[in-house]
Symmetry: C2
Subunit: 334 residues, 2 copies
DNA sequence: TCGTGTTGTCGAACCGATTCGACGATGGGC
DNA sequence: GCCCATCGTCGAATCGGTTCGACAACACGA
């Protein structure tokens, strides 16, 4: 591999001159610049990332921490992956991906050794052990998902309470008096996925405020348990006229289940849900829903992280930002 | 951040001694080793990755090139992601993920700058532009997916022709005389995804050999086109008694479609398919199928890559390895 | 008692970039 | 015609590790 020294020799200048030509931090005469460019082209030179990282202590890499939980509906994660890598690239950063079960250890390892300039944590839980590691790290980080203690952290998440209220209000305005919520599976609550109870609590509160009868039930993430749980829930709440589904795996199979029971939407049952645009499109979901945009969330997080790195001086307070989602009426209620 | 110099100072030795204590490449007295260990602990020292990479020209990072094609059923990709990152980690490597549309450029960029020690290409097409870049790269690479020209490349893929023959034979032995194949979507062929025609050609050949009537039809990847295409295919081939589905998106919705048409499996129609164990489990697919193991494929590829890096001397010939998949009888045929 | 070999440690060079200070060569203002 | 600023370039130091050769201290056998 050609080094900057080879380029310098070929162009008949010193190494520092090549470096300045590359970075543009000092003026270079047109003639010299041309000779350097030619040398770079003919030698096929690319600066060595390790050397540059050593000297500048900038790697231009972000660490991305994912967790694939057993028993989880995986496609959800993918919707973050692509927008994050893409927006990172457009800002000049590459993505180092970590999927280890012990996310805190992975974070510490990568941060301490200086492999990354910043960290992105996905699917953050209420009491996420990775946060201790993040706070101890030299590099800044951003979270997607709301933890219990947000002190000093940059957090991006959907506004789940707002989404819940929007959906409950929608059903209330149509005159529904008994509604039923299918929540994420029990293990999501156990793991501390706060989005689950933030949504459920807000829904309950709003329903109570409206004097509606309200019940919440755990969904499942894997077949055939999904079918069974949906049928059981429908059996147990025969008088509910409105159904709110807050679970990708359940909503994906709901059309088939309702069809097999001969339940017509919206004539027999009004159904609303909460999912991403992409997910809705993939599975062609026919329900009125609050549509989230994981891509937007991911992009915002990356942009914030980049800004945080590039202006370390500005100690603007850490930010917890909730993205409001928008109701898309697909006529599955009445 | 503490450097090796800080450790040396704290332990009262030279930097080289600390380095040797760390690597074990020279003997160190018990006493010195203990002082060094203590210093490392109390200073919380971790070697700087950039400096190490610069000196050793080893980054302990693999580049992973994915492509998310528009109109593709994404979950398939995930099944490779996790096993690859996990086996890489267990061998000491991290994963740098690239999803750019221009994969060749991404590969060149990362390889030239020395950010990675090896490259993993997923979903390689017959005439994949990334291969030129890979051949020009200094680092070794492995492919998942069979290209047209495998010269000098390490390739791992499922044995699709074998899988096709297994399924056709299975139906033939049961006495079926007219069968129908649902293939991956047309755009997979257009993109040069060779697995699609390798499977289709072998199925056709084997059916012809058995004197069976055979027709192949493109599946779709997104709803509601999937439903429509399945219904159209079933309408067009009323006499087919056996159905082979080689398309994840189609097979996932097939149970619902058959149910809505009142078609009973296996009484009215025998169905066989080809998918991964994980996929079958997630969607609780009830069909007899050849089950692939993307995890195994990914693991083999990573192990091969690692060996290739660690013994660059051994010029064992490049290898194209097809993994035979196994028929799992779930009673969806008769 | 004198080589000889082993063990443990050190100093210095090096990997490939960036960046600071220095400095000669210009050019403009007076 | 002189002084000073600006422009363009260079040499040297530096980032934080690894590794080679040198060497002191010690044990051992002859």
């Amino acid at each position: 591999m050609a080094t900057i020294g080879d380029v310098a020799k070929a162009a008949g200048v010193s190494r520092s001159t090549v470096s300045y030509a590359l970075s543009g931090k000092r003026t270079i005469s047109l003639d010299t610049r041309r000779r350097i460019d030619d040398a770079i082209k003919s030698l096929n030179f690319t600066p060595n990332a390790g050397a540059r990282a050593l000297k500048t202590s900038q790697t231009m890499v972000f660490g991305l921490l994912l967790q694939f939980h057993e028993d989880e509906f995986a496609p959800a994660m993918l919707q973050y992956l692509l927008p994050i890598t893409e927006s990172a690239r457009s800002l000049g950063y590459d993505i180092l991906m970590m999927t280890e079960a012990d996310g805190a250890a992975a974070l510490t390892r990568v941060a301490q050794s200086g492999m990354v300039d910043g960290l992105i944590l996905l699917d953050v839980a209420h009491d996420d052990p990775r946060l201790t590691a993040l706070r101890a790290a030299r590099q800044p980080g951003v979270l997607v998902g709301l933890p219990g203690d947000t002190d000093g952290l940059e957090v991006f998440d959907l506004d789940f309470p707002d989404a819940a209220r929007t959906l409950v209000d929608h059903l209330h305005e149509l005159g529904h008096e008994e509604i039923c919520l299918i929540t994420p599976p029990r293990h999501v609550y156990e793991r501390g996925g706060s989005y689950a109870w933030r949504f459920r609590d807000a829904a309950l509160e709003q329903a109570t405020k409206h004097g509606m009868k309200f019940s919440a039930h755990y969904g499942e993430s894997r077949q055939p348990a999904i079918d069974e749980s949906l049928n059981r829930i429908l059996d147990e709440t025969p008088n509910a006229t409105g159904l709110i589904v807050h679970n990708d795996a359940s909503v994906a199979v709901l059309p088939a289940v309702l069809h097999s029971r001969g339940v017509k939407v919206p004539d027999d049952l009004s159904v609303v849900s909460l999912y991403s645009k992409d997910f809705a499109r993939s599975f062609s979901l026919p329900y009125t829903a609050v549509e989230s945009s994981p891509d937007k969330l991911g992009r915002l997080a990356v942009e914030r992280l980049t800004r945080r790195i590039q202006n370390p001086g500005t100690t603007d307070p850490s930010e917890v930002r909730f993205i409001a989602a928008e109701l898309v009426d697909r006529g599955s209620t009445r």
